[in-house]
Amino acid sequence: MGIRERLSGNEASAIAMKQINPDVVAAFPITPSTEIPQYFSSFVSNGKVDTEFVAVESEHSAMSACIGAEAAGSRAMTATSSNGLAYMWEMVHIASSSRLPIVMPLVNRAISGPLNIHNDHSDAMGIRDAGWIMLFSENNQEAYDNLIMAHRIAEHKDVMLPLTVCQDGFITSHSIENIELIEDEKVKEFVGQYHPEHYLLNSKEPIAVGPMDLQAYLFEHKYAEHQAMKNAKKVILEVAKEFEKMTGRSYGLFEEYKLDDCDVAIVCMNSTAGTTKVVVDELREKGIKAGLLKLRVFRPFPQEEIAKALSKVKAVAVLDKAESLSSCGGPLFTEVTSAMYVNNLNVPTAGYIYGIGGRDTTTKDISSVYEDLLEVVKTGKINNPYRYLGVKGVKNNGI
């Protein structure tokens, strides 16, 4: 039986990091993830961890130092949000292409500009093609659990890719909720020691990391990354199974909430799933078959599994907390519809951009999406699939 606590999402992440006890943490403060390095540095100052804490002068240097530390043969972690991630974007690619299993809590916040400190997923979407495993978390418990599983996934010899654990800035990072923590000893045993095959500080085998990689080899190295990302799916599920044995808490690539018999379904990530569950329950009471697919693993993208899970649904809404400004839907929408297409599935699907810059998304908003979907089921017509939820001046969700 775990330890019952009441913690914010940031505290939970910091405690997960304490229990993981990484060799190096290099971080720079940015709202709303600042508390994570703050809490963590107090663990360092009070001798609760063995970690070398590097208080770098920027996020770019945070990721650079993590790359150096991980390449040296140690476990390195950082945490960031929004522009911090944007600033380290260059290094985010170098971390993954150097096959360094760095783990990073990412507390999602809108990317400037103009400046905004509140939640949306535009920061995370900026690294969706960067070769990182990306896990999303509905609440503090999931943020904590995902972090405890992170190193086992990232450091698996068939994977060796960095991993980020996302949660919604302020909404879960600063909200105190009940949580069940795992005992320190159990975490230590579960996470295990890191024994890299090749590393800079191996005096018997000097290595070169990050060489000039030209036309003759870069393509093959990129292909190897692709294979690793493919392998990650299996590893994520294996680790989740072991985690369930330890905690009783079950994790998959996504959570299906009343999805198996539903007519209308919403696909979304992070805390909005909590709001959606409430609406699903309300609608079910009225006899409306509503369901939810809450995506946990965004990278690797489980396209085949998503298509299968949505195959019997009559209408789908994909909620995007990021505007890709392609003029035709957000990133999650295009990936879900693409998953359907390649799996020969033709379910009427609409995309909704919502919650940008921390705009509150209420149960009423979510209800309106299900109402829209019921209309689609009735008429068999989607009309405009590129919709907006909760933006001032746009009536009828932009349909």
């Binding site: 060799d23 070398e52 770098v56 130092a65 140690s74 290094m91 290595i207």
Partner: protein
């Protein structure tokens, strides 16, 4: 033991080995090789390298000219990368995860672009944090890797591809940033400016001191570039000597705040001696442009005098 070039070369192999693809007459590989010779026998090194000439021509997959562990990440963050390696070393050593008797040294190389300009923040951060590492800037006075664009290390009036000597604007109109002094303002235990000069004694001894002084140390080393400066490849060492003898590039070190000029030319040569053999300053010798040489000389004199004053000031009893 007194310094002896023959003995050093014969008995102290460098982990920076031949086979790299840097240009003939380039100052940088000489700097790299000599600095790495200062590594004591039995000690290991991890080299962090900023993107630049040295990086793109010494570690092209699947080859490497570095017989030690080497990491390159990007242009502006060689210092931060090195600081991460050093932090890992400290952490693993403290936890007993590395062998007690193994000694690693952490050395970063960057050109003036990766050091004076795009990498300045990362350098300043790593130095201020006091990582046990040595940063070596091989200063060739422009972005040579991308084709001779001006940097803040480019000397006044130099003709580069982004400060071309034109009819209206005669080359780079700004004076050179004095990075060695900027680094000294970090109050590091050891900061030095050197060059591959004469028998390499100055460079070798400063490298050894920098590597074996505990904490963050900084070396600024002149590294002429035949393509960017426009000199014949066989005159590299002459160019280095003229830079020092004209006091364009004074050799000095600052140990815990105390300045020591390690070479004072018996006869300080006029700056024309340094400028004339280089194509990048050719326009300065056209009739009517004498004022450019005068201004250049004035700046060199001013900085040399400042250095003499600092030496005097910091060594007062």
């Amino acid at each position: 033991m007194a310094y002896n070039l023959k003995e050093i070369v014969a008995n102290k192999p460098s982990v920076f080995v031949s086979g790299h693809r840097m240009c003939a007459g380039c100052g940088a590989p000489i700097v790299g090789r000599m600095v790495m010779r200062a590594l004591k026998e039995g000690d290991h090194a991890v080299v962090s390298n900023a993107t630049g000439c040295m990086e793109v021509s010494t570690c092209i997959y699947p080859y490497s000219s570095w017989d030690c562990s080497y990491i390159h990440t990007a242009f502006e963050c060689a210092s931060a990368t090195c600081s991460g390696v050093e932090a890992a070393y400290k952490s693993l050593k403290k936890q007993g995860k590395l062998k007690e008797n193994e000694n690693f040294k952490f050395i970063t190389f960057g050109g003036d672009g990766g050091t004076y300009d795009i990498g300045l923040q990362s350098l300043s951060g790593a130095m201020e944090r006091g990582h046990d590492m040595t940063y070596v800037c091989y200063d060739n006075g422009a972005y040579m890797n991308t084709g001779i664009q001006r940097s803040s290390a480019t000397p006044h009036f130099a003709d580069t591809t982004t400060s071309p000597a034109g009819e209206i604007i005669p080359g780079k109109m700004q004076i050179r940033k004095d990075l060695t002094e900027v680094m000294e303002a970090h109050h590091l235990p050891y900061v030095a400016q050197t060059a591959a000069f004469m028998n390499f004694k100055d460079l070798y001894e400063k490298a050894e001191k920098a590597i074996y002084t505990k904490g963050a140390t900084f070396l600024n080393v002149l590294a002429p570039c035949p393509r960017g400066w426009g000199y014949s490849t066989d005159s590299l060492m002459d160019i280095n000597k003229l830079a020092v003898d004209t006091c364009y590039w004074p050799l000095y070190e600052v140990e815990n705040g105390k300045y020591k000029i390690t070479y004072k030319p018996a006869k300080k040569l006029p700056i024309e001696e340094f400028l004339r053999p280089q194509r990048r300053f050719k326009h300065m010798f056209k009739p009517g442009n004498e004022w450019m040489i005068e201004e250049f000389q004035k700046e060199v004199d001013k900085r040399w005098q400042e250095l003499l004053d600092l030496e005097e000031l910091t060594n007062r009893e």
